[in-house]
Symmetry: C2
């Protein structure tokens, strides 16, 4: 049984290979070739925090994964990262542990950003004017980096509740290939960007329906738990395609669940990202459509990236 | 973050201290001072196996635990133990991992056996003639050892489907303080033992109602998942006290769930082990009563033993 640190994982795993393995994971998942039970969750009050346990396996695969990811948003006050976690990889034939990846949430960040890039690859308009990023956290950072694998657009507009954080964010050396413009008004971002990625832990909608222009694709990755909410449910009324990473999860929590609950949309309108990858004609068919991808994070992504990391580390 | 092996854990943890911490755990649990969500489970077909993830925290405690335990019953054909697992201990204020206990299922075995001993302490008749053990696996072994902390009785009768395994079992050096008698007929065991512990992974009842004499206590620890079943539901009709480790879990799976489903008993007849510890007058009140303790294994036990092991290892 091998144990690896975040540093070892960062050194070994080639980011350019992550998108392919996550894409393959969504195909396995939407082909009903994976066993992914409901997410197990712990909530904490004092201080506030949550911990998600995502777990499952591909029926034809060799491993099962148990992924632990926590978020304690007051940690930065103590100089500690808000996110943490690890991935455990087991032999599906014996239950023997194969590897513990002490990634501290890094692999969760990557597989989430990879799903955002895959959503853009299949759903965003071909001609991107500008990428709009809502939020200034780690996930916002990786969404931008992973989008570079699927689009040539390097214009980015970023909005955060704290403008000073947005300024610091925009100067990160790993984002030097992008022209990043910090905006104080979300209206400016929605007016100029036709690919918008929301990455916050907001509990009330940040984007309103009237702000969304035709020809826009929105990827929402922030609302991954009950109580989180980034998109006004009325945006769903304007959408020509509503794509989710998982029917099961997105019916329970996240922005799609809010829109279903309020009656703005019906379950039959939803498509899974894996279905779009299998048959891209189900996705965007004109530059003028509005499309939404709501991503809550599925254990198949954890399985795929844990295997990719383990195999890179063992090579 | 500290990682410990099974060997280190075995060396550091004093078995005589386990019962107290598990007893305290049941009190916390039945006082509604713990947050224990439903068990997360993975089932496997080929080869058959299962993996349980139990997780939670005491509201007033410093840690949360995530425990992984697997059972792959064909493993011994390859010379590998059927059970495996690990316990992860996290800081409840930050989500930071504190310790990984690579116990390979050892701590799960101990906390399960400790719960059996606690059940006997509060529910078994005072004068034990003989302890009857159904099953010859690791759990049978630890049940006997832990019973030595709560009773002076050293007479044991053991029954297993494979009599040769029972013979080997009875000669284990750690059980040398016991007079162990292997029986081929369960009727002999039920006729002579007034404390019976069932420890199998049977999917159909092994003990029938007509076999159970007045003045018997039965602890059933084997049926910890859907599909497992050790006691004829009619035994519950004869019981003066039906004690469960967890109302929630025992309503979903295990022998009590079968008896509830078949209508032999009602939920209002159940008591939790923690309630009996808090008020022992709720338990056995005469030597002639029949009592049952149905134990499915609760995350509070995992939390308590993980903390005990971690603190022993760090002392």
């Amino acid at each position: 049984m091998k144990i690896f640190s975040k540093h070892q994982i960062q050194k070994a795993l080639d980011l350019s290979k992550v998108i392919d393995c996550i894409e393959q994971g969504f195909v396995i998942y939407s082909s009903h070739k994976a066993m992914i039970p409901p997410v197990a969750t712990l909530h904490f009050d004092n201080p506030p925090g949550d911990c998600h346990i995502k777990y499952g396996y591909a029926k034809e695969g060799k491993y099962y994964v148990i992924k632990v990811a926590s978020g304690f948003h007051q940690n930065p006050l103590q100089g500690i990262s808000a996110g943490n976690g690890m991935m455990l990889l087991f032999d599906k034939a014996t239950g023997m542990p194969i590897s513990i990846l002490l990634d501290e949430g890094y692999l969760t960040d990557l597989r989430t950003a990879a799903a955002g890039a895959i959503s853009a690859k299949y759903l965003a308009p071909k001609n991107l004017s500008c990428i709009g990023i809502v939020g200034t956290g780690t996930q916002a950072h990786f969404q931008i980096r992973f989008l570079s694998f699927v689009t040539d657009c390097r214009n980015v507009m970023i909005w955060g509740r704290d403008p000073s954080k947005a300024e610091i964010f925009s100067k990160h050396p790993d984002l030097r290939d992008f022209k990043i413009h910090v905006v104080k008004d979300l209206n400016q971002l929605t007016a100029e960007c036709n690919l918008i990625v929301t990455t916050t832990s907001s509990s009330s909608p940040l984007l309103s329906a009237h702000q969304i222009r035709t020809g826009t694709h929105i990827t929402a990755v922030g609302a991954d738990d009950i109580g989180k909410h980034e998109l006004d449910p009325k945006i769903f009324l304007k959408a020509d395609r509503i794509v989710v990473d998982s029917f099961n999860q997105c019916s329970l929590f996240g922005d799609t669940a809010h829109a279903l609950k309020s009656g703005h949309i019906q379950k039959c309108q939803l498509l899974e990202l894996g279905q779009i990858i299998i048959d891209p004609t189900l996705g965007r068919t004109s530059e003028h459509q509005i499309t939404i991808a709501d991503l809550t994070g599925v254990a198949i992504q954890d399985l795929q990236i844990a295997i990719a990391a383990y195999e890179s580390l063992s090579a």
